[in-house]
């Protein structure tokens, strides 16, 4: 169901660097009835820790997971993730 193949949409060259995009997942969770990271993780098919890492900009999710997150909130991808660095 979840598929094994995925594409990394952003790879940081500096290991300590943040992802080159921001996200509104925290706000969207709050607006979605104060959904917890664990609940979102369950819906998307990842762990709570992975949602926390994405929220904090520490981890770039695969395109598939990014779309799944957007789908949970019923938003287009660019309303959840915003490119910051050019």
């Amino acid at each position: 169901m979840w598929g094994r193949s995925y594409i990394i949409i952003a790879v940081a060259t500096d290991p300590m660097a943040q992802t080159p995009f921001t996200n509104d997942i925290r706000t969207l969770r709050f607006l979605a009835g104060e959904m917890t990271q664990g609940d979102l993780g369950d819906k998307v098919g990842v762990t709570r820790q992975t949602i926390a890492a994405i929220e904090q900009g520490k981890y770039s999710p695969s395109l598939e997971v990014a779309f799944r997150i957007a789908h949970v909130f019923g938003k287009p991808l660019e309303e959840v993730f915003q490119w910051q660095r050019d």
Binding site: G45, V46, T47, R48, Q49, A52, S60
Partner: protein, 140 residues
């Protein structure tokens, strides 16, 4: 902290305890003799017990405490962490095997060869588990 991270911490402590005991107690003075090799092999029995008992007990404890976490499949971030750690562990493994070849060519064998192979595996495992814990702590 995820279930897998907890298991990694137990593995790290288990590795350090079991093989710390092994290397501190190995009779190095008879290492280059057949007896040295047999002792090395026999010492692996308590090493396995020291390593496995806390691993099994810890995994059972955390699985009973939070069964939902224990049942979760490895997700893409964890798979990435897993692969990075395994990749890093390859280098000490390759160096250790070459060192062992060098040692055998130069007339050291028996217990030295076994112990160097064990040390190679232990260092590779410590780097694998240690780096994976680092990535877990960092986020990725």
């Amino acid at each position: 902290m995820s279930f897998r991270e907890k298991i990694h911490w137990i593995a790290l402590v288990g590795l350090l305890s079991a093989f710390g005991w092994y290397f501190l107690n190995y009779p190095w003075e008879i290492a280059n003799s057949p007896k040295g090799m047999y002792i090395a092999v026999w010492m692996l029995l308590p090493v396995t017990i020291i390593f496995l008992v806390p691993m099994v007990a810890g995994a059972a404890f955390f699985a009973i405490r939070s069964p939902k976490d224990a049942d979760l499949k490895e997700d893409e971030r964890e798979k990435g962490i897993h692969l990075r750690g395994t990749h890093l562990a390859y280098y000490p493994l390759a160096i250790g095997v070459q060192l062992n070849i060098f040692v055998l060519i130069n007339g050291f064998n028996y217990g030295y060869a076994v112990t160097i192979l064990i040390a190679t595996l232990v260092i590779a495992e410590l780097i694998r588990v240690g780096s994976q814990l680092y990535y877990y702590r960092r986020g990725y």
